[in-house]
Structures are given as C-alpha cells and as structure tokens.
Symmetry: C2
Subunit: 225 residues, 2 copies
Amino acid sequence: MRRKAVVLLSGGLDSTTCLALALDAGFEVYALSFNYHQRHKIELEAAQRVVAALGAAGCLNLDLPLDAIGGSALTDASLAVPKDATAEEMQSRIPITYVPARNTIFLSLALGYAEVLGASDIFIGVNALDYSGYPDCRPAFIAAFESMANLATKQSVEGRLRYTIHTPLISMSKAQIIRTGRALGVDYSLTFSCYDPTPAGHACGHCDSCLLRQKGFAEADAASV
Amino acid sequence: MRRKAVVLLSGGLDSTTCLALALDAGFEVYALSFNYHQRHKIELEAAQRVVAALGAAGCLNLDLPLDAIGGSALTDASLAVPKDATAEEMQSRIPITYVPARNTIFLSLALGYAEVLGASDIFIGVNALDYSGYPDCRPAFIAAFESMANLATKQSVEGRLRYTIHTPLISMSKAQIIRTGRALGVDYSLTFSCYDPTPAGHACGHCDSCLLRQKGFAEADAASV
C-alpha cells in the first residue's frame, strides 16, 4: 500500500513544485488548500488547475476566515501590499504581507487531516533562501512544529504514526525550484503567485511574490541557455 | 498598561474557570471561541453568556469547518458519542470524541490572534486529571507548543513578545476547578458541558463530559458541606 501524504497547496510556484515532488516520491497525495479570505484568493483556481494536471488522490479546500483576525496586508484590504522592494529590503524586514501564525495554522489543520487519513507525511513548500523573511519558513520553526506534532495526536501518542514535515524546497533558490519542477513536467503557466492581483485577475508584477517569481524564471532560463 | 491575554473559551466549565482566573490575575482578556461545526455548538451560547457575565475586553467567534476533516463523534454526526463509560474506561482509552489535532488548531489560531493584539499570554483550560485521555491536554504537548510558538511569529522572532501558554487547571480535579471558580464568583449555571445535547438543547447526562461534570459537582458539594 502506498504511503499517504498531505501537501499544502496554494496554487503558487513553490507549493506546486512540492506537490510534484511528493507524487514523484511515490506518495498517495492529498492536497489541502485554504480560502483564508486572502486578497489573492484567485490562487485557489490555480490550485484546482494544478491538481487537475498533476493528479491527487484527494483534495480539500477549507474555509478559514483569517480576515477576522487580520494584521496582514493579505487579509486586511486597508493595508497596502508593498511594491518594487529591493533584494536588500526583502532580506532586511518581515513585511506587512506576513500573516500572523499562518504556517502554524495551516500545518495544524494539515496535521488533523493527516491523522484522519492515516498519513504520517506532510509537505510544505517553505523556502528560506529566496523568500520574504517570514519566521515560519525557517528550519528551526519546522523542526519545532514536527516535535510538537508528535506529542499532539492520538495516532502519534499511541505509536501508530510518526509525523514528518517535509520541506524539500527549504534550501533551494527560486531558479532551482523551477528547474526541479520542470524536470518533473510541471507547467508553471498553471500556477499563480501574485499577492495583489488586478480586478481582472492578472499578476501585479510588483509585489515581493511577483518579483521573486520573475527573478526565478530569469535565472532558470539563463542557466538553461 | 494591563497585559493582554487570549483565553480559549468553549462555554464549558473548564474554560469558563480559566477566563475567571485570567481576569483575576489582572489581564485584559480577549475570549476566542470556535464554531467548529461541533455537535454541541449550543455551547457557544454559553460562551456568550459567560462573557456577558464575567466581562472581557473583546471576544471573537471564528468559523472553522472541522466537519470537512471529520474523524470525531463531535464533528461527524454518523459516529455515536459514547455513553455511561466507567471511570476505568475513561482513563484507559482515547475516545471517539477526540477531535484530531483540535487543541493544536485552536492554539494556533489563538497564537495568530495574540500576535495581532500584541498579547503574550494564552490561556487554555486543559486538564490532565479528570479528563478523557486526550493527548493534546498533557503538559508535554503544551510545553512543545509553547516552544514552537516562540519560533513561529514575527513578534516572537523580533524579540517583542515571549509567549506563555497558561494551563492553570492542568493538575486540578473537576471538584477543585469548581471550587476555584466559585471562589471567584463564577455562576456555573451559565456554562454548558454536554457533547451530545438533546434537540431541545438539554445536556444528555450520559456522555463523558456530562459524567465528569456531575462527578465534579458531587465532590465539590460534598467537600463544602
């Protein structure tokens, strides 16, 4: 019997690559997405396209009204998404697009889903290199979450499951992520990364996420010439 | 300025006592409740009564459709709530009323709420003595969650907040909890503990939660005679 894995899937470049890697590793994959009332909830359409293209044994889209908590430009329309940040700016600050405790919340729900499925493996596409300085993308956080998870559930306490949080992208550059996904046949035109899409649903081209994506493709394409 | 605290409040006996203790300790209290599509969502009316009676600087009720994940008699109507368990049965098994990763999920959302409020203190009414054997009520789990939380957020990583997860009831019997609350003026007739209320909203009197509550009041009243 194939081992089951839960993959957190936003529909962006990183989580889509993560899904491809989990499938390539032979897992029976269950994708988990969240409508967290994010400014860019159009990314959920990309998540659906990705699941349709790559395949998954199951997928769950959970409603999670994080706008009621707020505190981020991604969940509070009154806060502006920063545009045209330099690489230095991106490395030197945790931006207003940080969503309080988001990865803790997402991983916690993934843990509950994994326990019900009998899955011991959870994939998250965090990345500590070309990223926006988010605290919950760092290896120390992931290790602490994994330790906590193994004390948290019936399945782990009764010794039936030992959870592993997989972060296959954590040390990759965006260009490496793109090359990895392309080698696995990922069509990145299906994915969507922008934090602040236009009313027509197009990427803004200026937020941190757009800039990192553009830089990644530029580097990946230059390397492949 | 008073320190802020987030208190997880279900409307039951334990979390209500926890709220009273946080207020008594001088915190500016923000109550956080969840409509997790639980069988006994009538408990949320009790949570409102408790906040009205004891007071709170704020309260937030978040919708969280854990029935989409299922795996528990509390979120899946097709699973029966166990009735009339003996004390030995309660101590020897993790029952079907266990909700996968529930306290991890609730504490994660409390962490996000705390970060936005600038609160470093989170109260949860877990109890490792008169309880149903849930793994996420044990001191080892709480300690692991606290360690993880302090690596998870912008406020903790930038050194502005050091989170403490308070579990003032963890070593108390139900009778001790009731005596503690009574000394603080808690009116327990406002609270609601049953997992499986009747259609009219009355406690069933036979689930683990009802039995523990009855035993607690019997012992507290015997001790006070």
